[in-house]
């Protein structure tokens, strides 16, 4: 490659990185050789020697969940705008492999975003000890030296409970996410707090997906709730389908709420009453924070984004 252009290997590097000044004539020859040979620099080698990969990494628990692809998208777009590539690792819901994936990513990227609602706290500490550019999303652990961007999951669900209470509901079932998930813990805590306003509740184990919501429905109904608060929109949609199959009308006979406001929430019938964090904002703030740690800027304070209740058709007055 270098010889094809009749220059030294260092000059090729200079031309391609565009930082240093090179005689236009030589640069021309290099460019010609590059296109002629289809040469592409090896990012691994470049990163190894320079420490910069021009790449960021994102670790998510499950790419099949549209909520994660949402934050991912936002970060990817921002990174691209700053000339950085994004590499994604999917833990496929195995919290135990997340630390290893994160550390691997960290050695092939300039910084990483970790969305790990279920990673063990001890693993989180190991990650923090790396002292590398890591931003944690949707997870709060006290005493962890990691920049964090979260969403007020507690407040969101609490507000949802407030809405249901005003609609006259007194007994609800919480369709829980995976045990050990930070989001799940926050939401269930909020549901329990709502007891102070006369809202009784039971937690029914469900999960993260449509099928789990569908399957948990019958179990939940045995407790005679007038409203179902689902861990997320997918679970809510699954429960709605189960209700329809049982001839139970939503929201006339039963109210169902979701969480996250994924794209589909407004497209099901009835449209889903849910809670929404501004995903754009989440992506913006996450990127802002990662960039700060990347460039050694002063560390931004932890961010906790407000969440809004989106009233659509799936929650209504309690039936008499």
């Amino acid at each position: 490659m270098a010889e094809a252009a009749g220059v030294s290997i260092a000059t090729v590097s200079r031309v391609l990185s565009g930082r240093r000044s090179v005689r236009p004539e030589a640069a021309e020859r290099v460019h010609a050789a590059v296109t002629a040979l289809g040469y592409r620099p090896n990012p691994a080698a470049k990163g190894l020697v320079s420490g910069r990969f021009d790449t960021i990494g994102v670790l998510v628990p499950d790419l099949a969940n549209p909520y994660f692809s949402g934050v991912l998208k936002a970060v990817t777009v921002h990174a691209a705008a700053d000339g950085l590539r994004t590499l994604v690792a999917d833990a496929d819901n195995h919290a135990s492999s997340e630390l290893e994936l994160a550390c691997g990513l960290l050695r092939q990227a300039d910084g990483i975003v970790v969305v790990a609602p279920r990673m063990a706290v001890s693993d989180l500490r190991v990650l923090a000890a790396e002292c590398a550019p890591v931003v944690l999303v949707n997870r709060v652990e006290s005493g962890l030296a990691l920049p964090v961007v979260t969403v007020d999951a507690f407040g969101a669900t609490f507000a949802l409970c407030g809405l249901l209470s005003r609609l006259g509901h007194r007994r609800l079932a919480y369709l829980a996410g995976t045990a050990g998930s930070w989001h799940n813990a926050e939401r269930w805590r909020a549901v329990q707090r709502a007891a102070a306003f006369g809202l009784e509740s039971v937690a029914i184990p469900a999960g993260e997906g449509v099928d789990q919501g569908y399957e948990a429905f019958e179990h939940a109904m045995r407790h005679g709730p007038t409203a179902l608060v689902a861990f997320n929109d997918l679970v809510a949609i699954g429960a709605m389908r189960a209700a329809r199959q049982c001839g139970i009308r939503v929201p006339e006979d039963l109210s169902i709420t979701g969480c996250d406001d994924i794209a589909l929430a407004r497209h099901v019938d009835p449209a889903l009453t849910t809670t929404a964090a501004d995903q754009r904002a989440l992506g913006d703030r996450t990127w802002q924070m990662l960039r700060a740690v990347l460039y050694g800027e002063p560390l931004p304070d932890p961010v906790c984004l407000a969440v809004q209740v989106i009233e659509r058709g799936s929650a209504g007055p309690v039936p008499w």
Copy 2:
């Protein structure tokens, strides 16, 4: 690290790779030092020298589309079972950046899976010229020296048209995907072929997502179709919502069909009549093929998976 264990750097390598024989006592000391220091080998360096990354790459056009996360998932699981990590790159619907992303991945992975329905043929040729382990998914181009796994998109849509024809439909609108997409071309070709059976059709530009289906609906209805054949399930779901808002009942007044059978297809109301390739099979065959090229096994023949029509509630007899 090596000195912490009192051995040479080469011995550490041997212990960690586990291939060569090492005196148990020394191995013990190395392991102790590894856990004590939290040492993790650098994958970039390892790959650079050995040429093996123990990683495969997957390039998809858009992670927000559940269809892609489906094939991704299947491949990830298989790779993990064989001890390989998966790294994902999202082209964010910019077909023009796909070649570069693919080449980048190729230098950080042992092989890649490229799902690129819209990548330019010229770029595809460049990729093929790399003579690297690349498997192309859902794309057929004649004369391309690349192993391919596809789905019979033409046959799927044609079968769907057959169903609509038997239901008495004579005029349908095709809600098209992005121009230039292989899938889109195949499906539109099938719709046009159906003219031979008395099915007239118009193509209405839509896109890949729910919102595009929603927006294309009005335009499509101006042509007076009794059935809408959507590019994919998301577009169909968007169109269904638009229909509902216009007071048009599905399927009594209008039939709507999708493609892909994403998880949500069965959860909307009415449940979506659509076509499904076995995603498990797609993932299986893709992995099988990638593994073959990875290990230099004889190249499997191109695979084209059959697709089934899934009749659910969204397509019915033509209204009289």
